[in-house]
Symmetry: D2
Subunit: 335 residues, 4 copies
């Protein structure tokens, strides 16, 4: 039995409790939050779970063998390190930490302690993203030309991170999971429309070898919610629309045919082709349930998570490069 203590009962914490409690092999026994109103709400919904305002009451509790961290990003490193050092397995919200240096230290400590360190890159556990990876791996798309994502809405402004750290994390974790290659350079632009200096709109281009490009548009100030990614390949293309109630993933038998140009030497002849569209059936299990199941399995079988420390580190490394590029108004930053 994985006995879990949860740090942070704000926006995401209740989802963790609900999913751990609905999964065989795990139970949340204690929850910590500095806000006593939240603890009252916890007691009302889950009379059997103990609330506390002291994180050490969880980190040092020998009855717990795992700690889930759903607190502000700036606290991830400190709390995760203390939990790992105390011998707990750790599930930490995205992004893994505020800096790549912190993330590297967390990876070392988890390895040293032989404990599971899983980052909550939730989207990797959705039926949609797993189907997309399956499609890419099958070679059905051909050569990958681009990944383009739009993730905008009228959002909760965060106090400690900008929109890249909040939203682009999702796409970076998806990219890292789906594409076989790693990006080699970054260019980012963005704007902070309010004093405080945290960007509320940002654009991020990732350059890959082999003519592949990825782009993300994240925005906390959009009048509508959009969650839409395009994945263009030489043979087929995918549109992934997470707002769609069903048919989230559509595979288009469309593309361009490249031929030799009879009229000239220096230019190619490109013609486009449209064909059928196909929306495969997706597993509709809640992603967080699959993730929690995976965390329990990793703990029980001493396995490395799909979204472990290395995956968390990758995301933070790109975010750091993006922040640097954004200050230089798009100037390339090599990875």
């Amino acid at each position: 039995m994985v006995t879990v203590g949860l740090l942070g009962y704000g926006y995401w914490g209740p989802n963790l409790v609900r999913n751990f409690n609905a999964t065989d092999g795990a139970r949340v026994l204690k929850v910590c939050d500095p806000n006593t109103d939240r603890l009252r709400k916890l007691a009302q919904t889950y009379p059997g779970v103990e609330g506390t305002t002291d994180p050490d009451a969880i980190i040092n509790d020998p009855a717990l063998n795992a700690v889930a961290i759903a607190t502000p990003v700036s606290t991830h490193y400190d709390l995760a390190m203390r939990a790992l050092t105390a011998g707990k397995h750790v599930l930490v919200e995205k992004p893994i930490a505020a800096t790549a240096a912190e993330a590297s230290r967390m990876i070392e400590e988890a390895e040293h302690q032989k404990r599971v360190l899983l980052v909550d890159h939730t989207f990797v556990y959705t039926g949609a993203v797993r189907k997309i990876k399956e499609t890419v791996d099958s070679g059905m798309l051909g050569e990958i030309y681009y990944y383009d994502s739009v993730r905008v809405n009228l959002g909760l402004f965060q106090n400690d991170v900008d929109v890249l750290y909040d939203l682009a994390v999702h796409d970076l974790s998806i990219l890292n999971y789906v594409l076989p290659n790693k990006p080699c350079a970054v260019s980012a632009t963005g704007m902070a429309n309010f004093s405080g200096g945290l960007a509320n709109v940002a654009y991020l281009t990732l350059f890959y070898e082999n003519r592949c490009i990825a782009h993300m548009h994240v925005n906390w100030l959009a009048p509508v919610k959009v969650r839409r990614a395009l994945l263009g390949g030489s043979k087929k293309m995918i549109m992934y629309d997470d707002i769609e109630p069903s048919e989230k993933v559509k595979i288009y038998d469309s593309g361009v045919d490249v031929g030799s140009d009879p009229e000239g030497m220096y230019k190619i002849k490109v013609s486009y082709r449209t064909g059928d569209m196909w929306a495969p059936k997706l597993d509709t299990t809640e992603a967080l349930h699959t993730l929690v199941r995976h965390f329990i399995d990793c703990v029980e079988n001493h396995e490395t998570p799909i979204t472990g420390g290395q995956e968390g580190l990758f995301v933070v490394r790109v975010l750091e490069a993006a922040m640097k590029s954004m200050k230089g108004r798009g100037a390339t930053v090599e990875l």
Copy 2:
């Protein structure tokens, strides 16, 4: 009566003939195209219009007082200059020319000859864009924070220009018309997935003074057609979706409220607000009809067009900067 000779009867030319002929005060008398199949089609549809393969038969025809140019971009400068020099008024497809230097020369010649030089920035003449400008001018949106546009589809690859020159032109002309300020710098990224070197996907950020940012995503290799722009203001926001059969422009009474943060000195408190949405009725006149009407009025009344040489020059200037930035993988280029 404005008597028009048309150069180029490919994709767009037939629309020009149809609209000129449906508008009082103008008539297309001659059409030139090197492709005799197209001329046969012209004869079949418009028995009264003369076809020719020789542009000079139009440029030097004293019975014509205007020339419409719907040929490849690389030929715009030469044809327009010859037509202006011959004393014709000129309507030229977008972009006005391949380079800013060419555009400047065309502007000079038109001024020298006292002739109308109108660039076919079609979208400026749509009911949707005119309503957006009206809304911005009214101050209803408050301070403008950003403009974000997506213009992608599985497109006709052009032989002589890349996707920026083909598609971003539309957004640049809209931006130039709608926003009161001019951008000061550009960062662009993109990719040419096929040999030949012309980008088929591109991202373009424009930096403005006063914390405003504009971004365009153009792509010839997308499985779906998207034509959607967001315009974010401090008071209200607009979504402009040109694919929508009606309700192309939606105005959202949404935004963020900025207050002083009681808990800290250095950060502001931002909370979001959602309210009603309103889709104003739009003029549904075909944009090209309005443009043709405007061209005739400018010719008859010796007026300067809304989309004249200067507007055409602005667009090409930004495109040149974008191409330079794209080569530098996003490096800032000042305007």
Copy 3:
């Protein structure tokens, strides 16, 4: 404190527990279900709530002052009558009962016992439907011409009721709430595509005085989920799309203008008019939460619910007439 015993922990029961427990002034203390798997799940999620397989353990428990009934329709009457007779307030799922005769007896018993009898016509408590009623009451729509609803999906086939009893109930309760008048006659058609004789697709027309007509299309065998109603008035029209994540209610300033026809005596001249569209902000509180709150208020203040026995009876009366008409392949049945 309203102390609730719940009968039935199948599809809807868990939502009732969650909402009662999240509302001040009420608590679910006991839940009855014949299925012990469901009771195990209950214990896992809500350790503090007692489970039982015996309805009498709830109906006769003096510690409970209210009973919520979420069991198959055929059992509503018996369970509700026993609970009312035992002095409990009753919240019963829709439809109130299998027949109008049963519903009438339940109303009498509730009045006799001076107990609250509330039917869970959930949609009446949504922000969308309340906004529609507000709009109709304001006179903004003018004269109401029609109500048209489509409520289809690939659905759970019920064992004891057909698609009318399952889905049309929602529209009938909305109609009853929104429109000032009552229908005077019914015509219905439908089909049972499987042996068993319960219709899986049905169409229901309600005739009103004053040229108003209402129509419902319900279908358990549709490949897509549609929840869309149109409400046409002489001045404005409403589209209510419950699938839309936001903007569920759109008010169109569209309609027809009726004038005298100069060209003839016997016919009128009707021309249409399109104008702005407006999507008002809606209260997004979960409907069941509002309903539970209303139930508690009615119990505490001895008030008559918005969706009480009479409203439940109306719905069942129309359903009975519709079944009769459906057997006659559309033959009119007066109400």
Copy 4:
């Protein structure tokens, strides 16, 4: 060469001229309309086509071998009979005539004269409907359970026919083309919200043998335009949305599985199943072009059109029955 005279240059007439002139083997030589403004417009667009206000100038012109009739419904019979009697082939707009008796007489006359009589059931010639027929014919859908269509918008009120005659014609012609069986009875309801007595909203149910049902909702007073049909089969289902710019036809591998019910003798166990969705590529040729091509082929090869007199008669027969049922507020009318 099929030489065509067109009667009626209102809403649809210009489309006929454009398509005949764009098709090899036919040419419109004369157009008749009582409205001289329309004839002026004709002359402006097609200088080579002769205009007249006298139908006999077309019907009796020996240079013409075909007459296209795009006039009000009430005039179809008289004009078509005169044209057939004069030995012309006839293309007549939908519906073929105002009554089944008229349609029968037209069929007889066409047979007697050995002339082609084609009714412009345009939708039958769309790529979408032809793909649907192909799918039904292949048996892929299994047993057909229902056809359900919604065809509503804020429409042009007609002076001489109601909404059934205007819009339901489309669905009846599609049904007749797609389904192998004919309906045996009709139930219809509707409402005339304006004096004049012509229904502006109507609902029509068609009963088939073998538990198949079809339903149409037509409405001239809807705030939005909807053109959507569902076709439910035992194995697969189709959604046909004509508003969709692409992907008009979607085939769902969804349905219900029927098994024996272990818990009871008298009821069956039905469970639903959702699977992939597939949107086949469609021929995007303009339907009217395909129809005109077919008309020319029938004339040249003495063939019977896909949408000939019999198909036109079927539609009018159902419409007559529907009108009778509508007067009886849904009362069944056998066909």
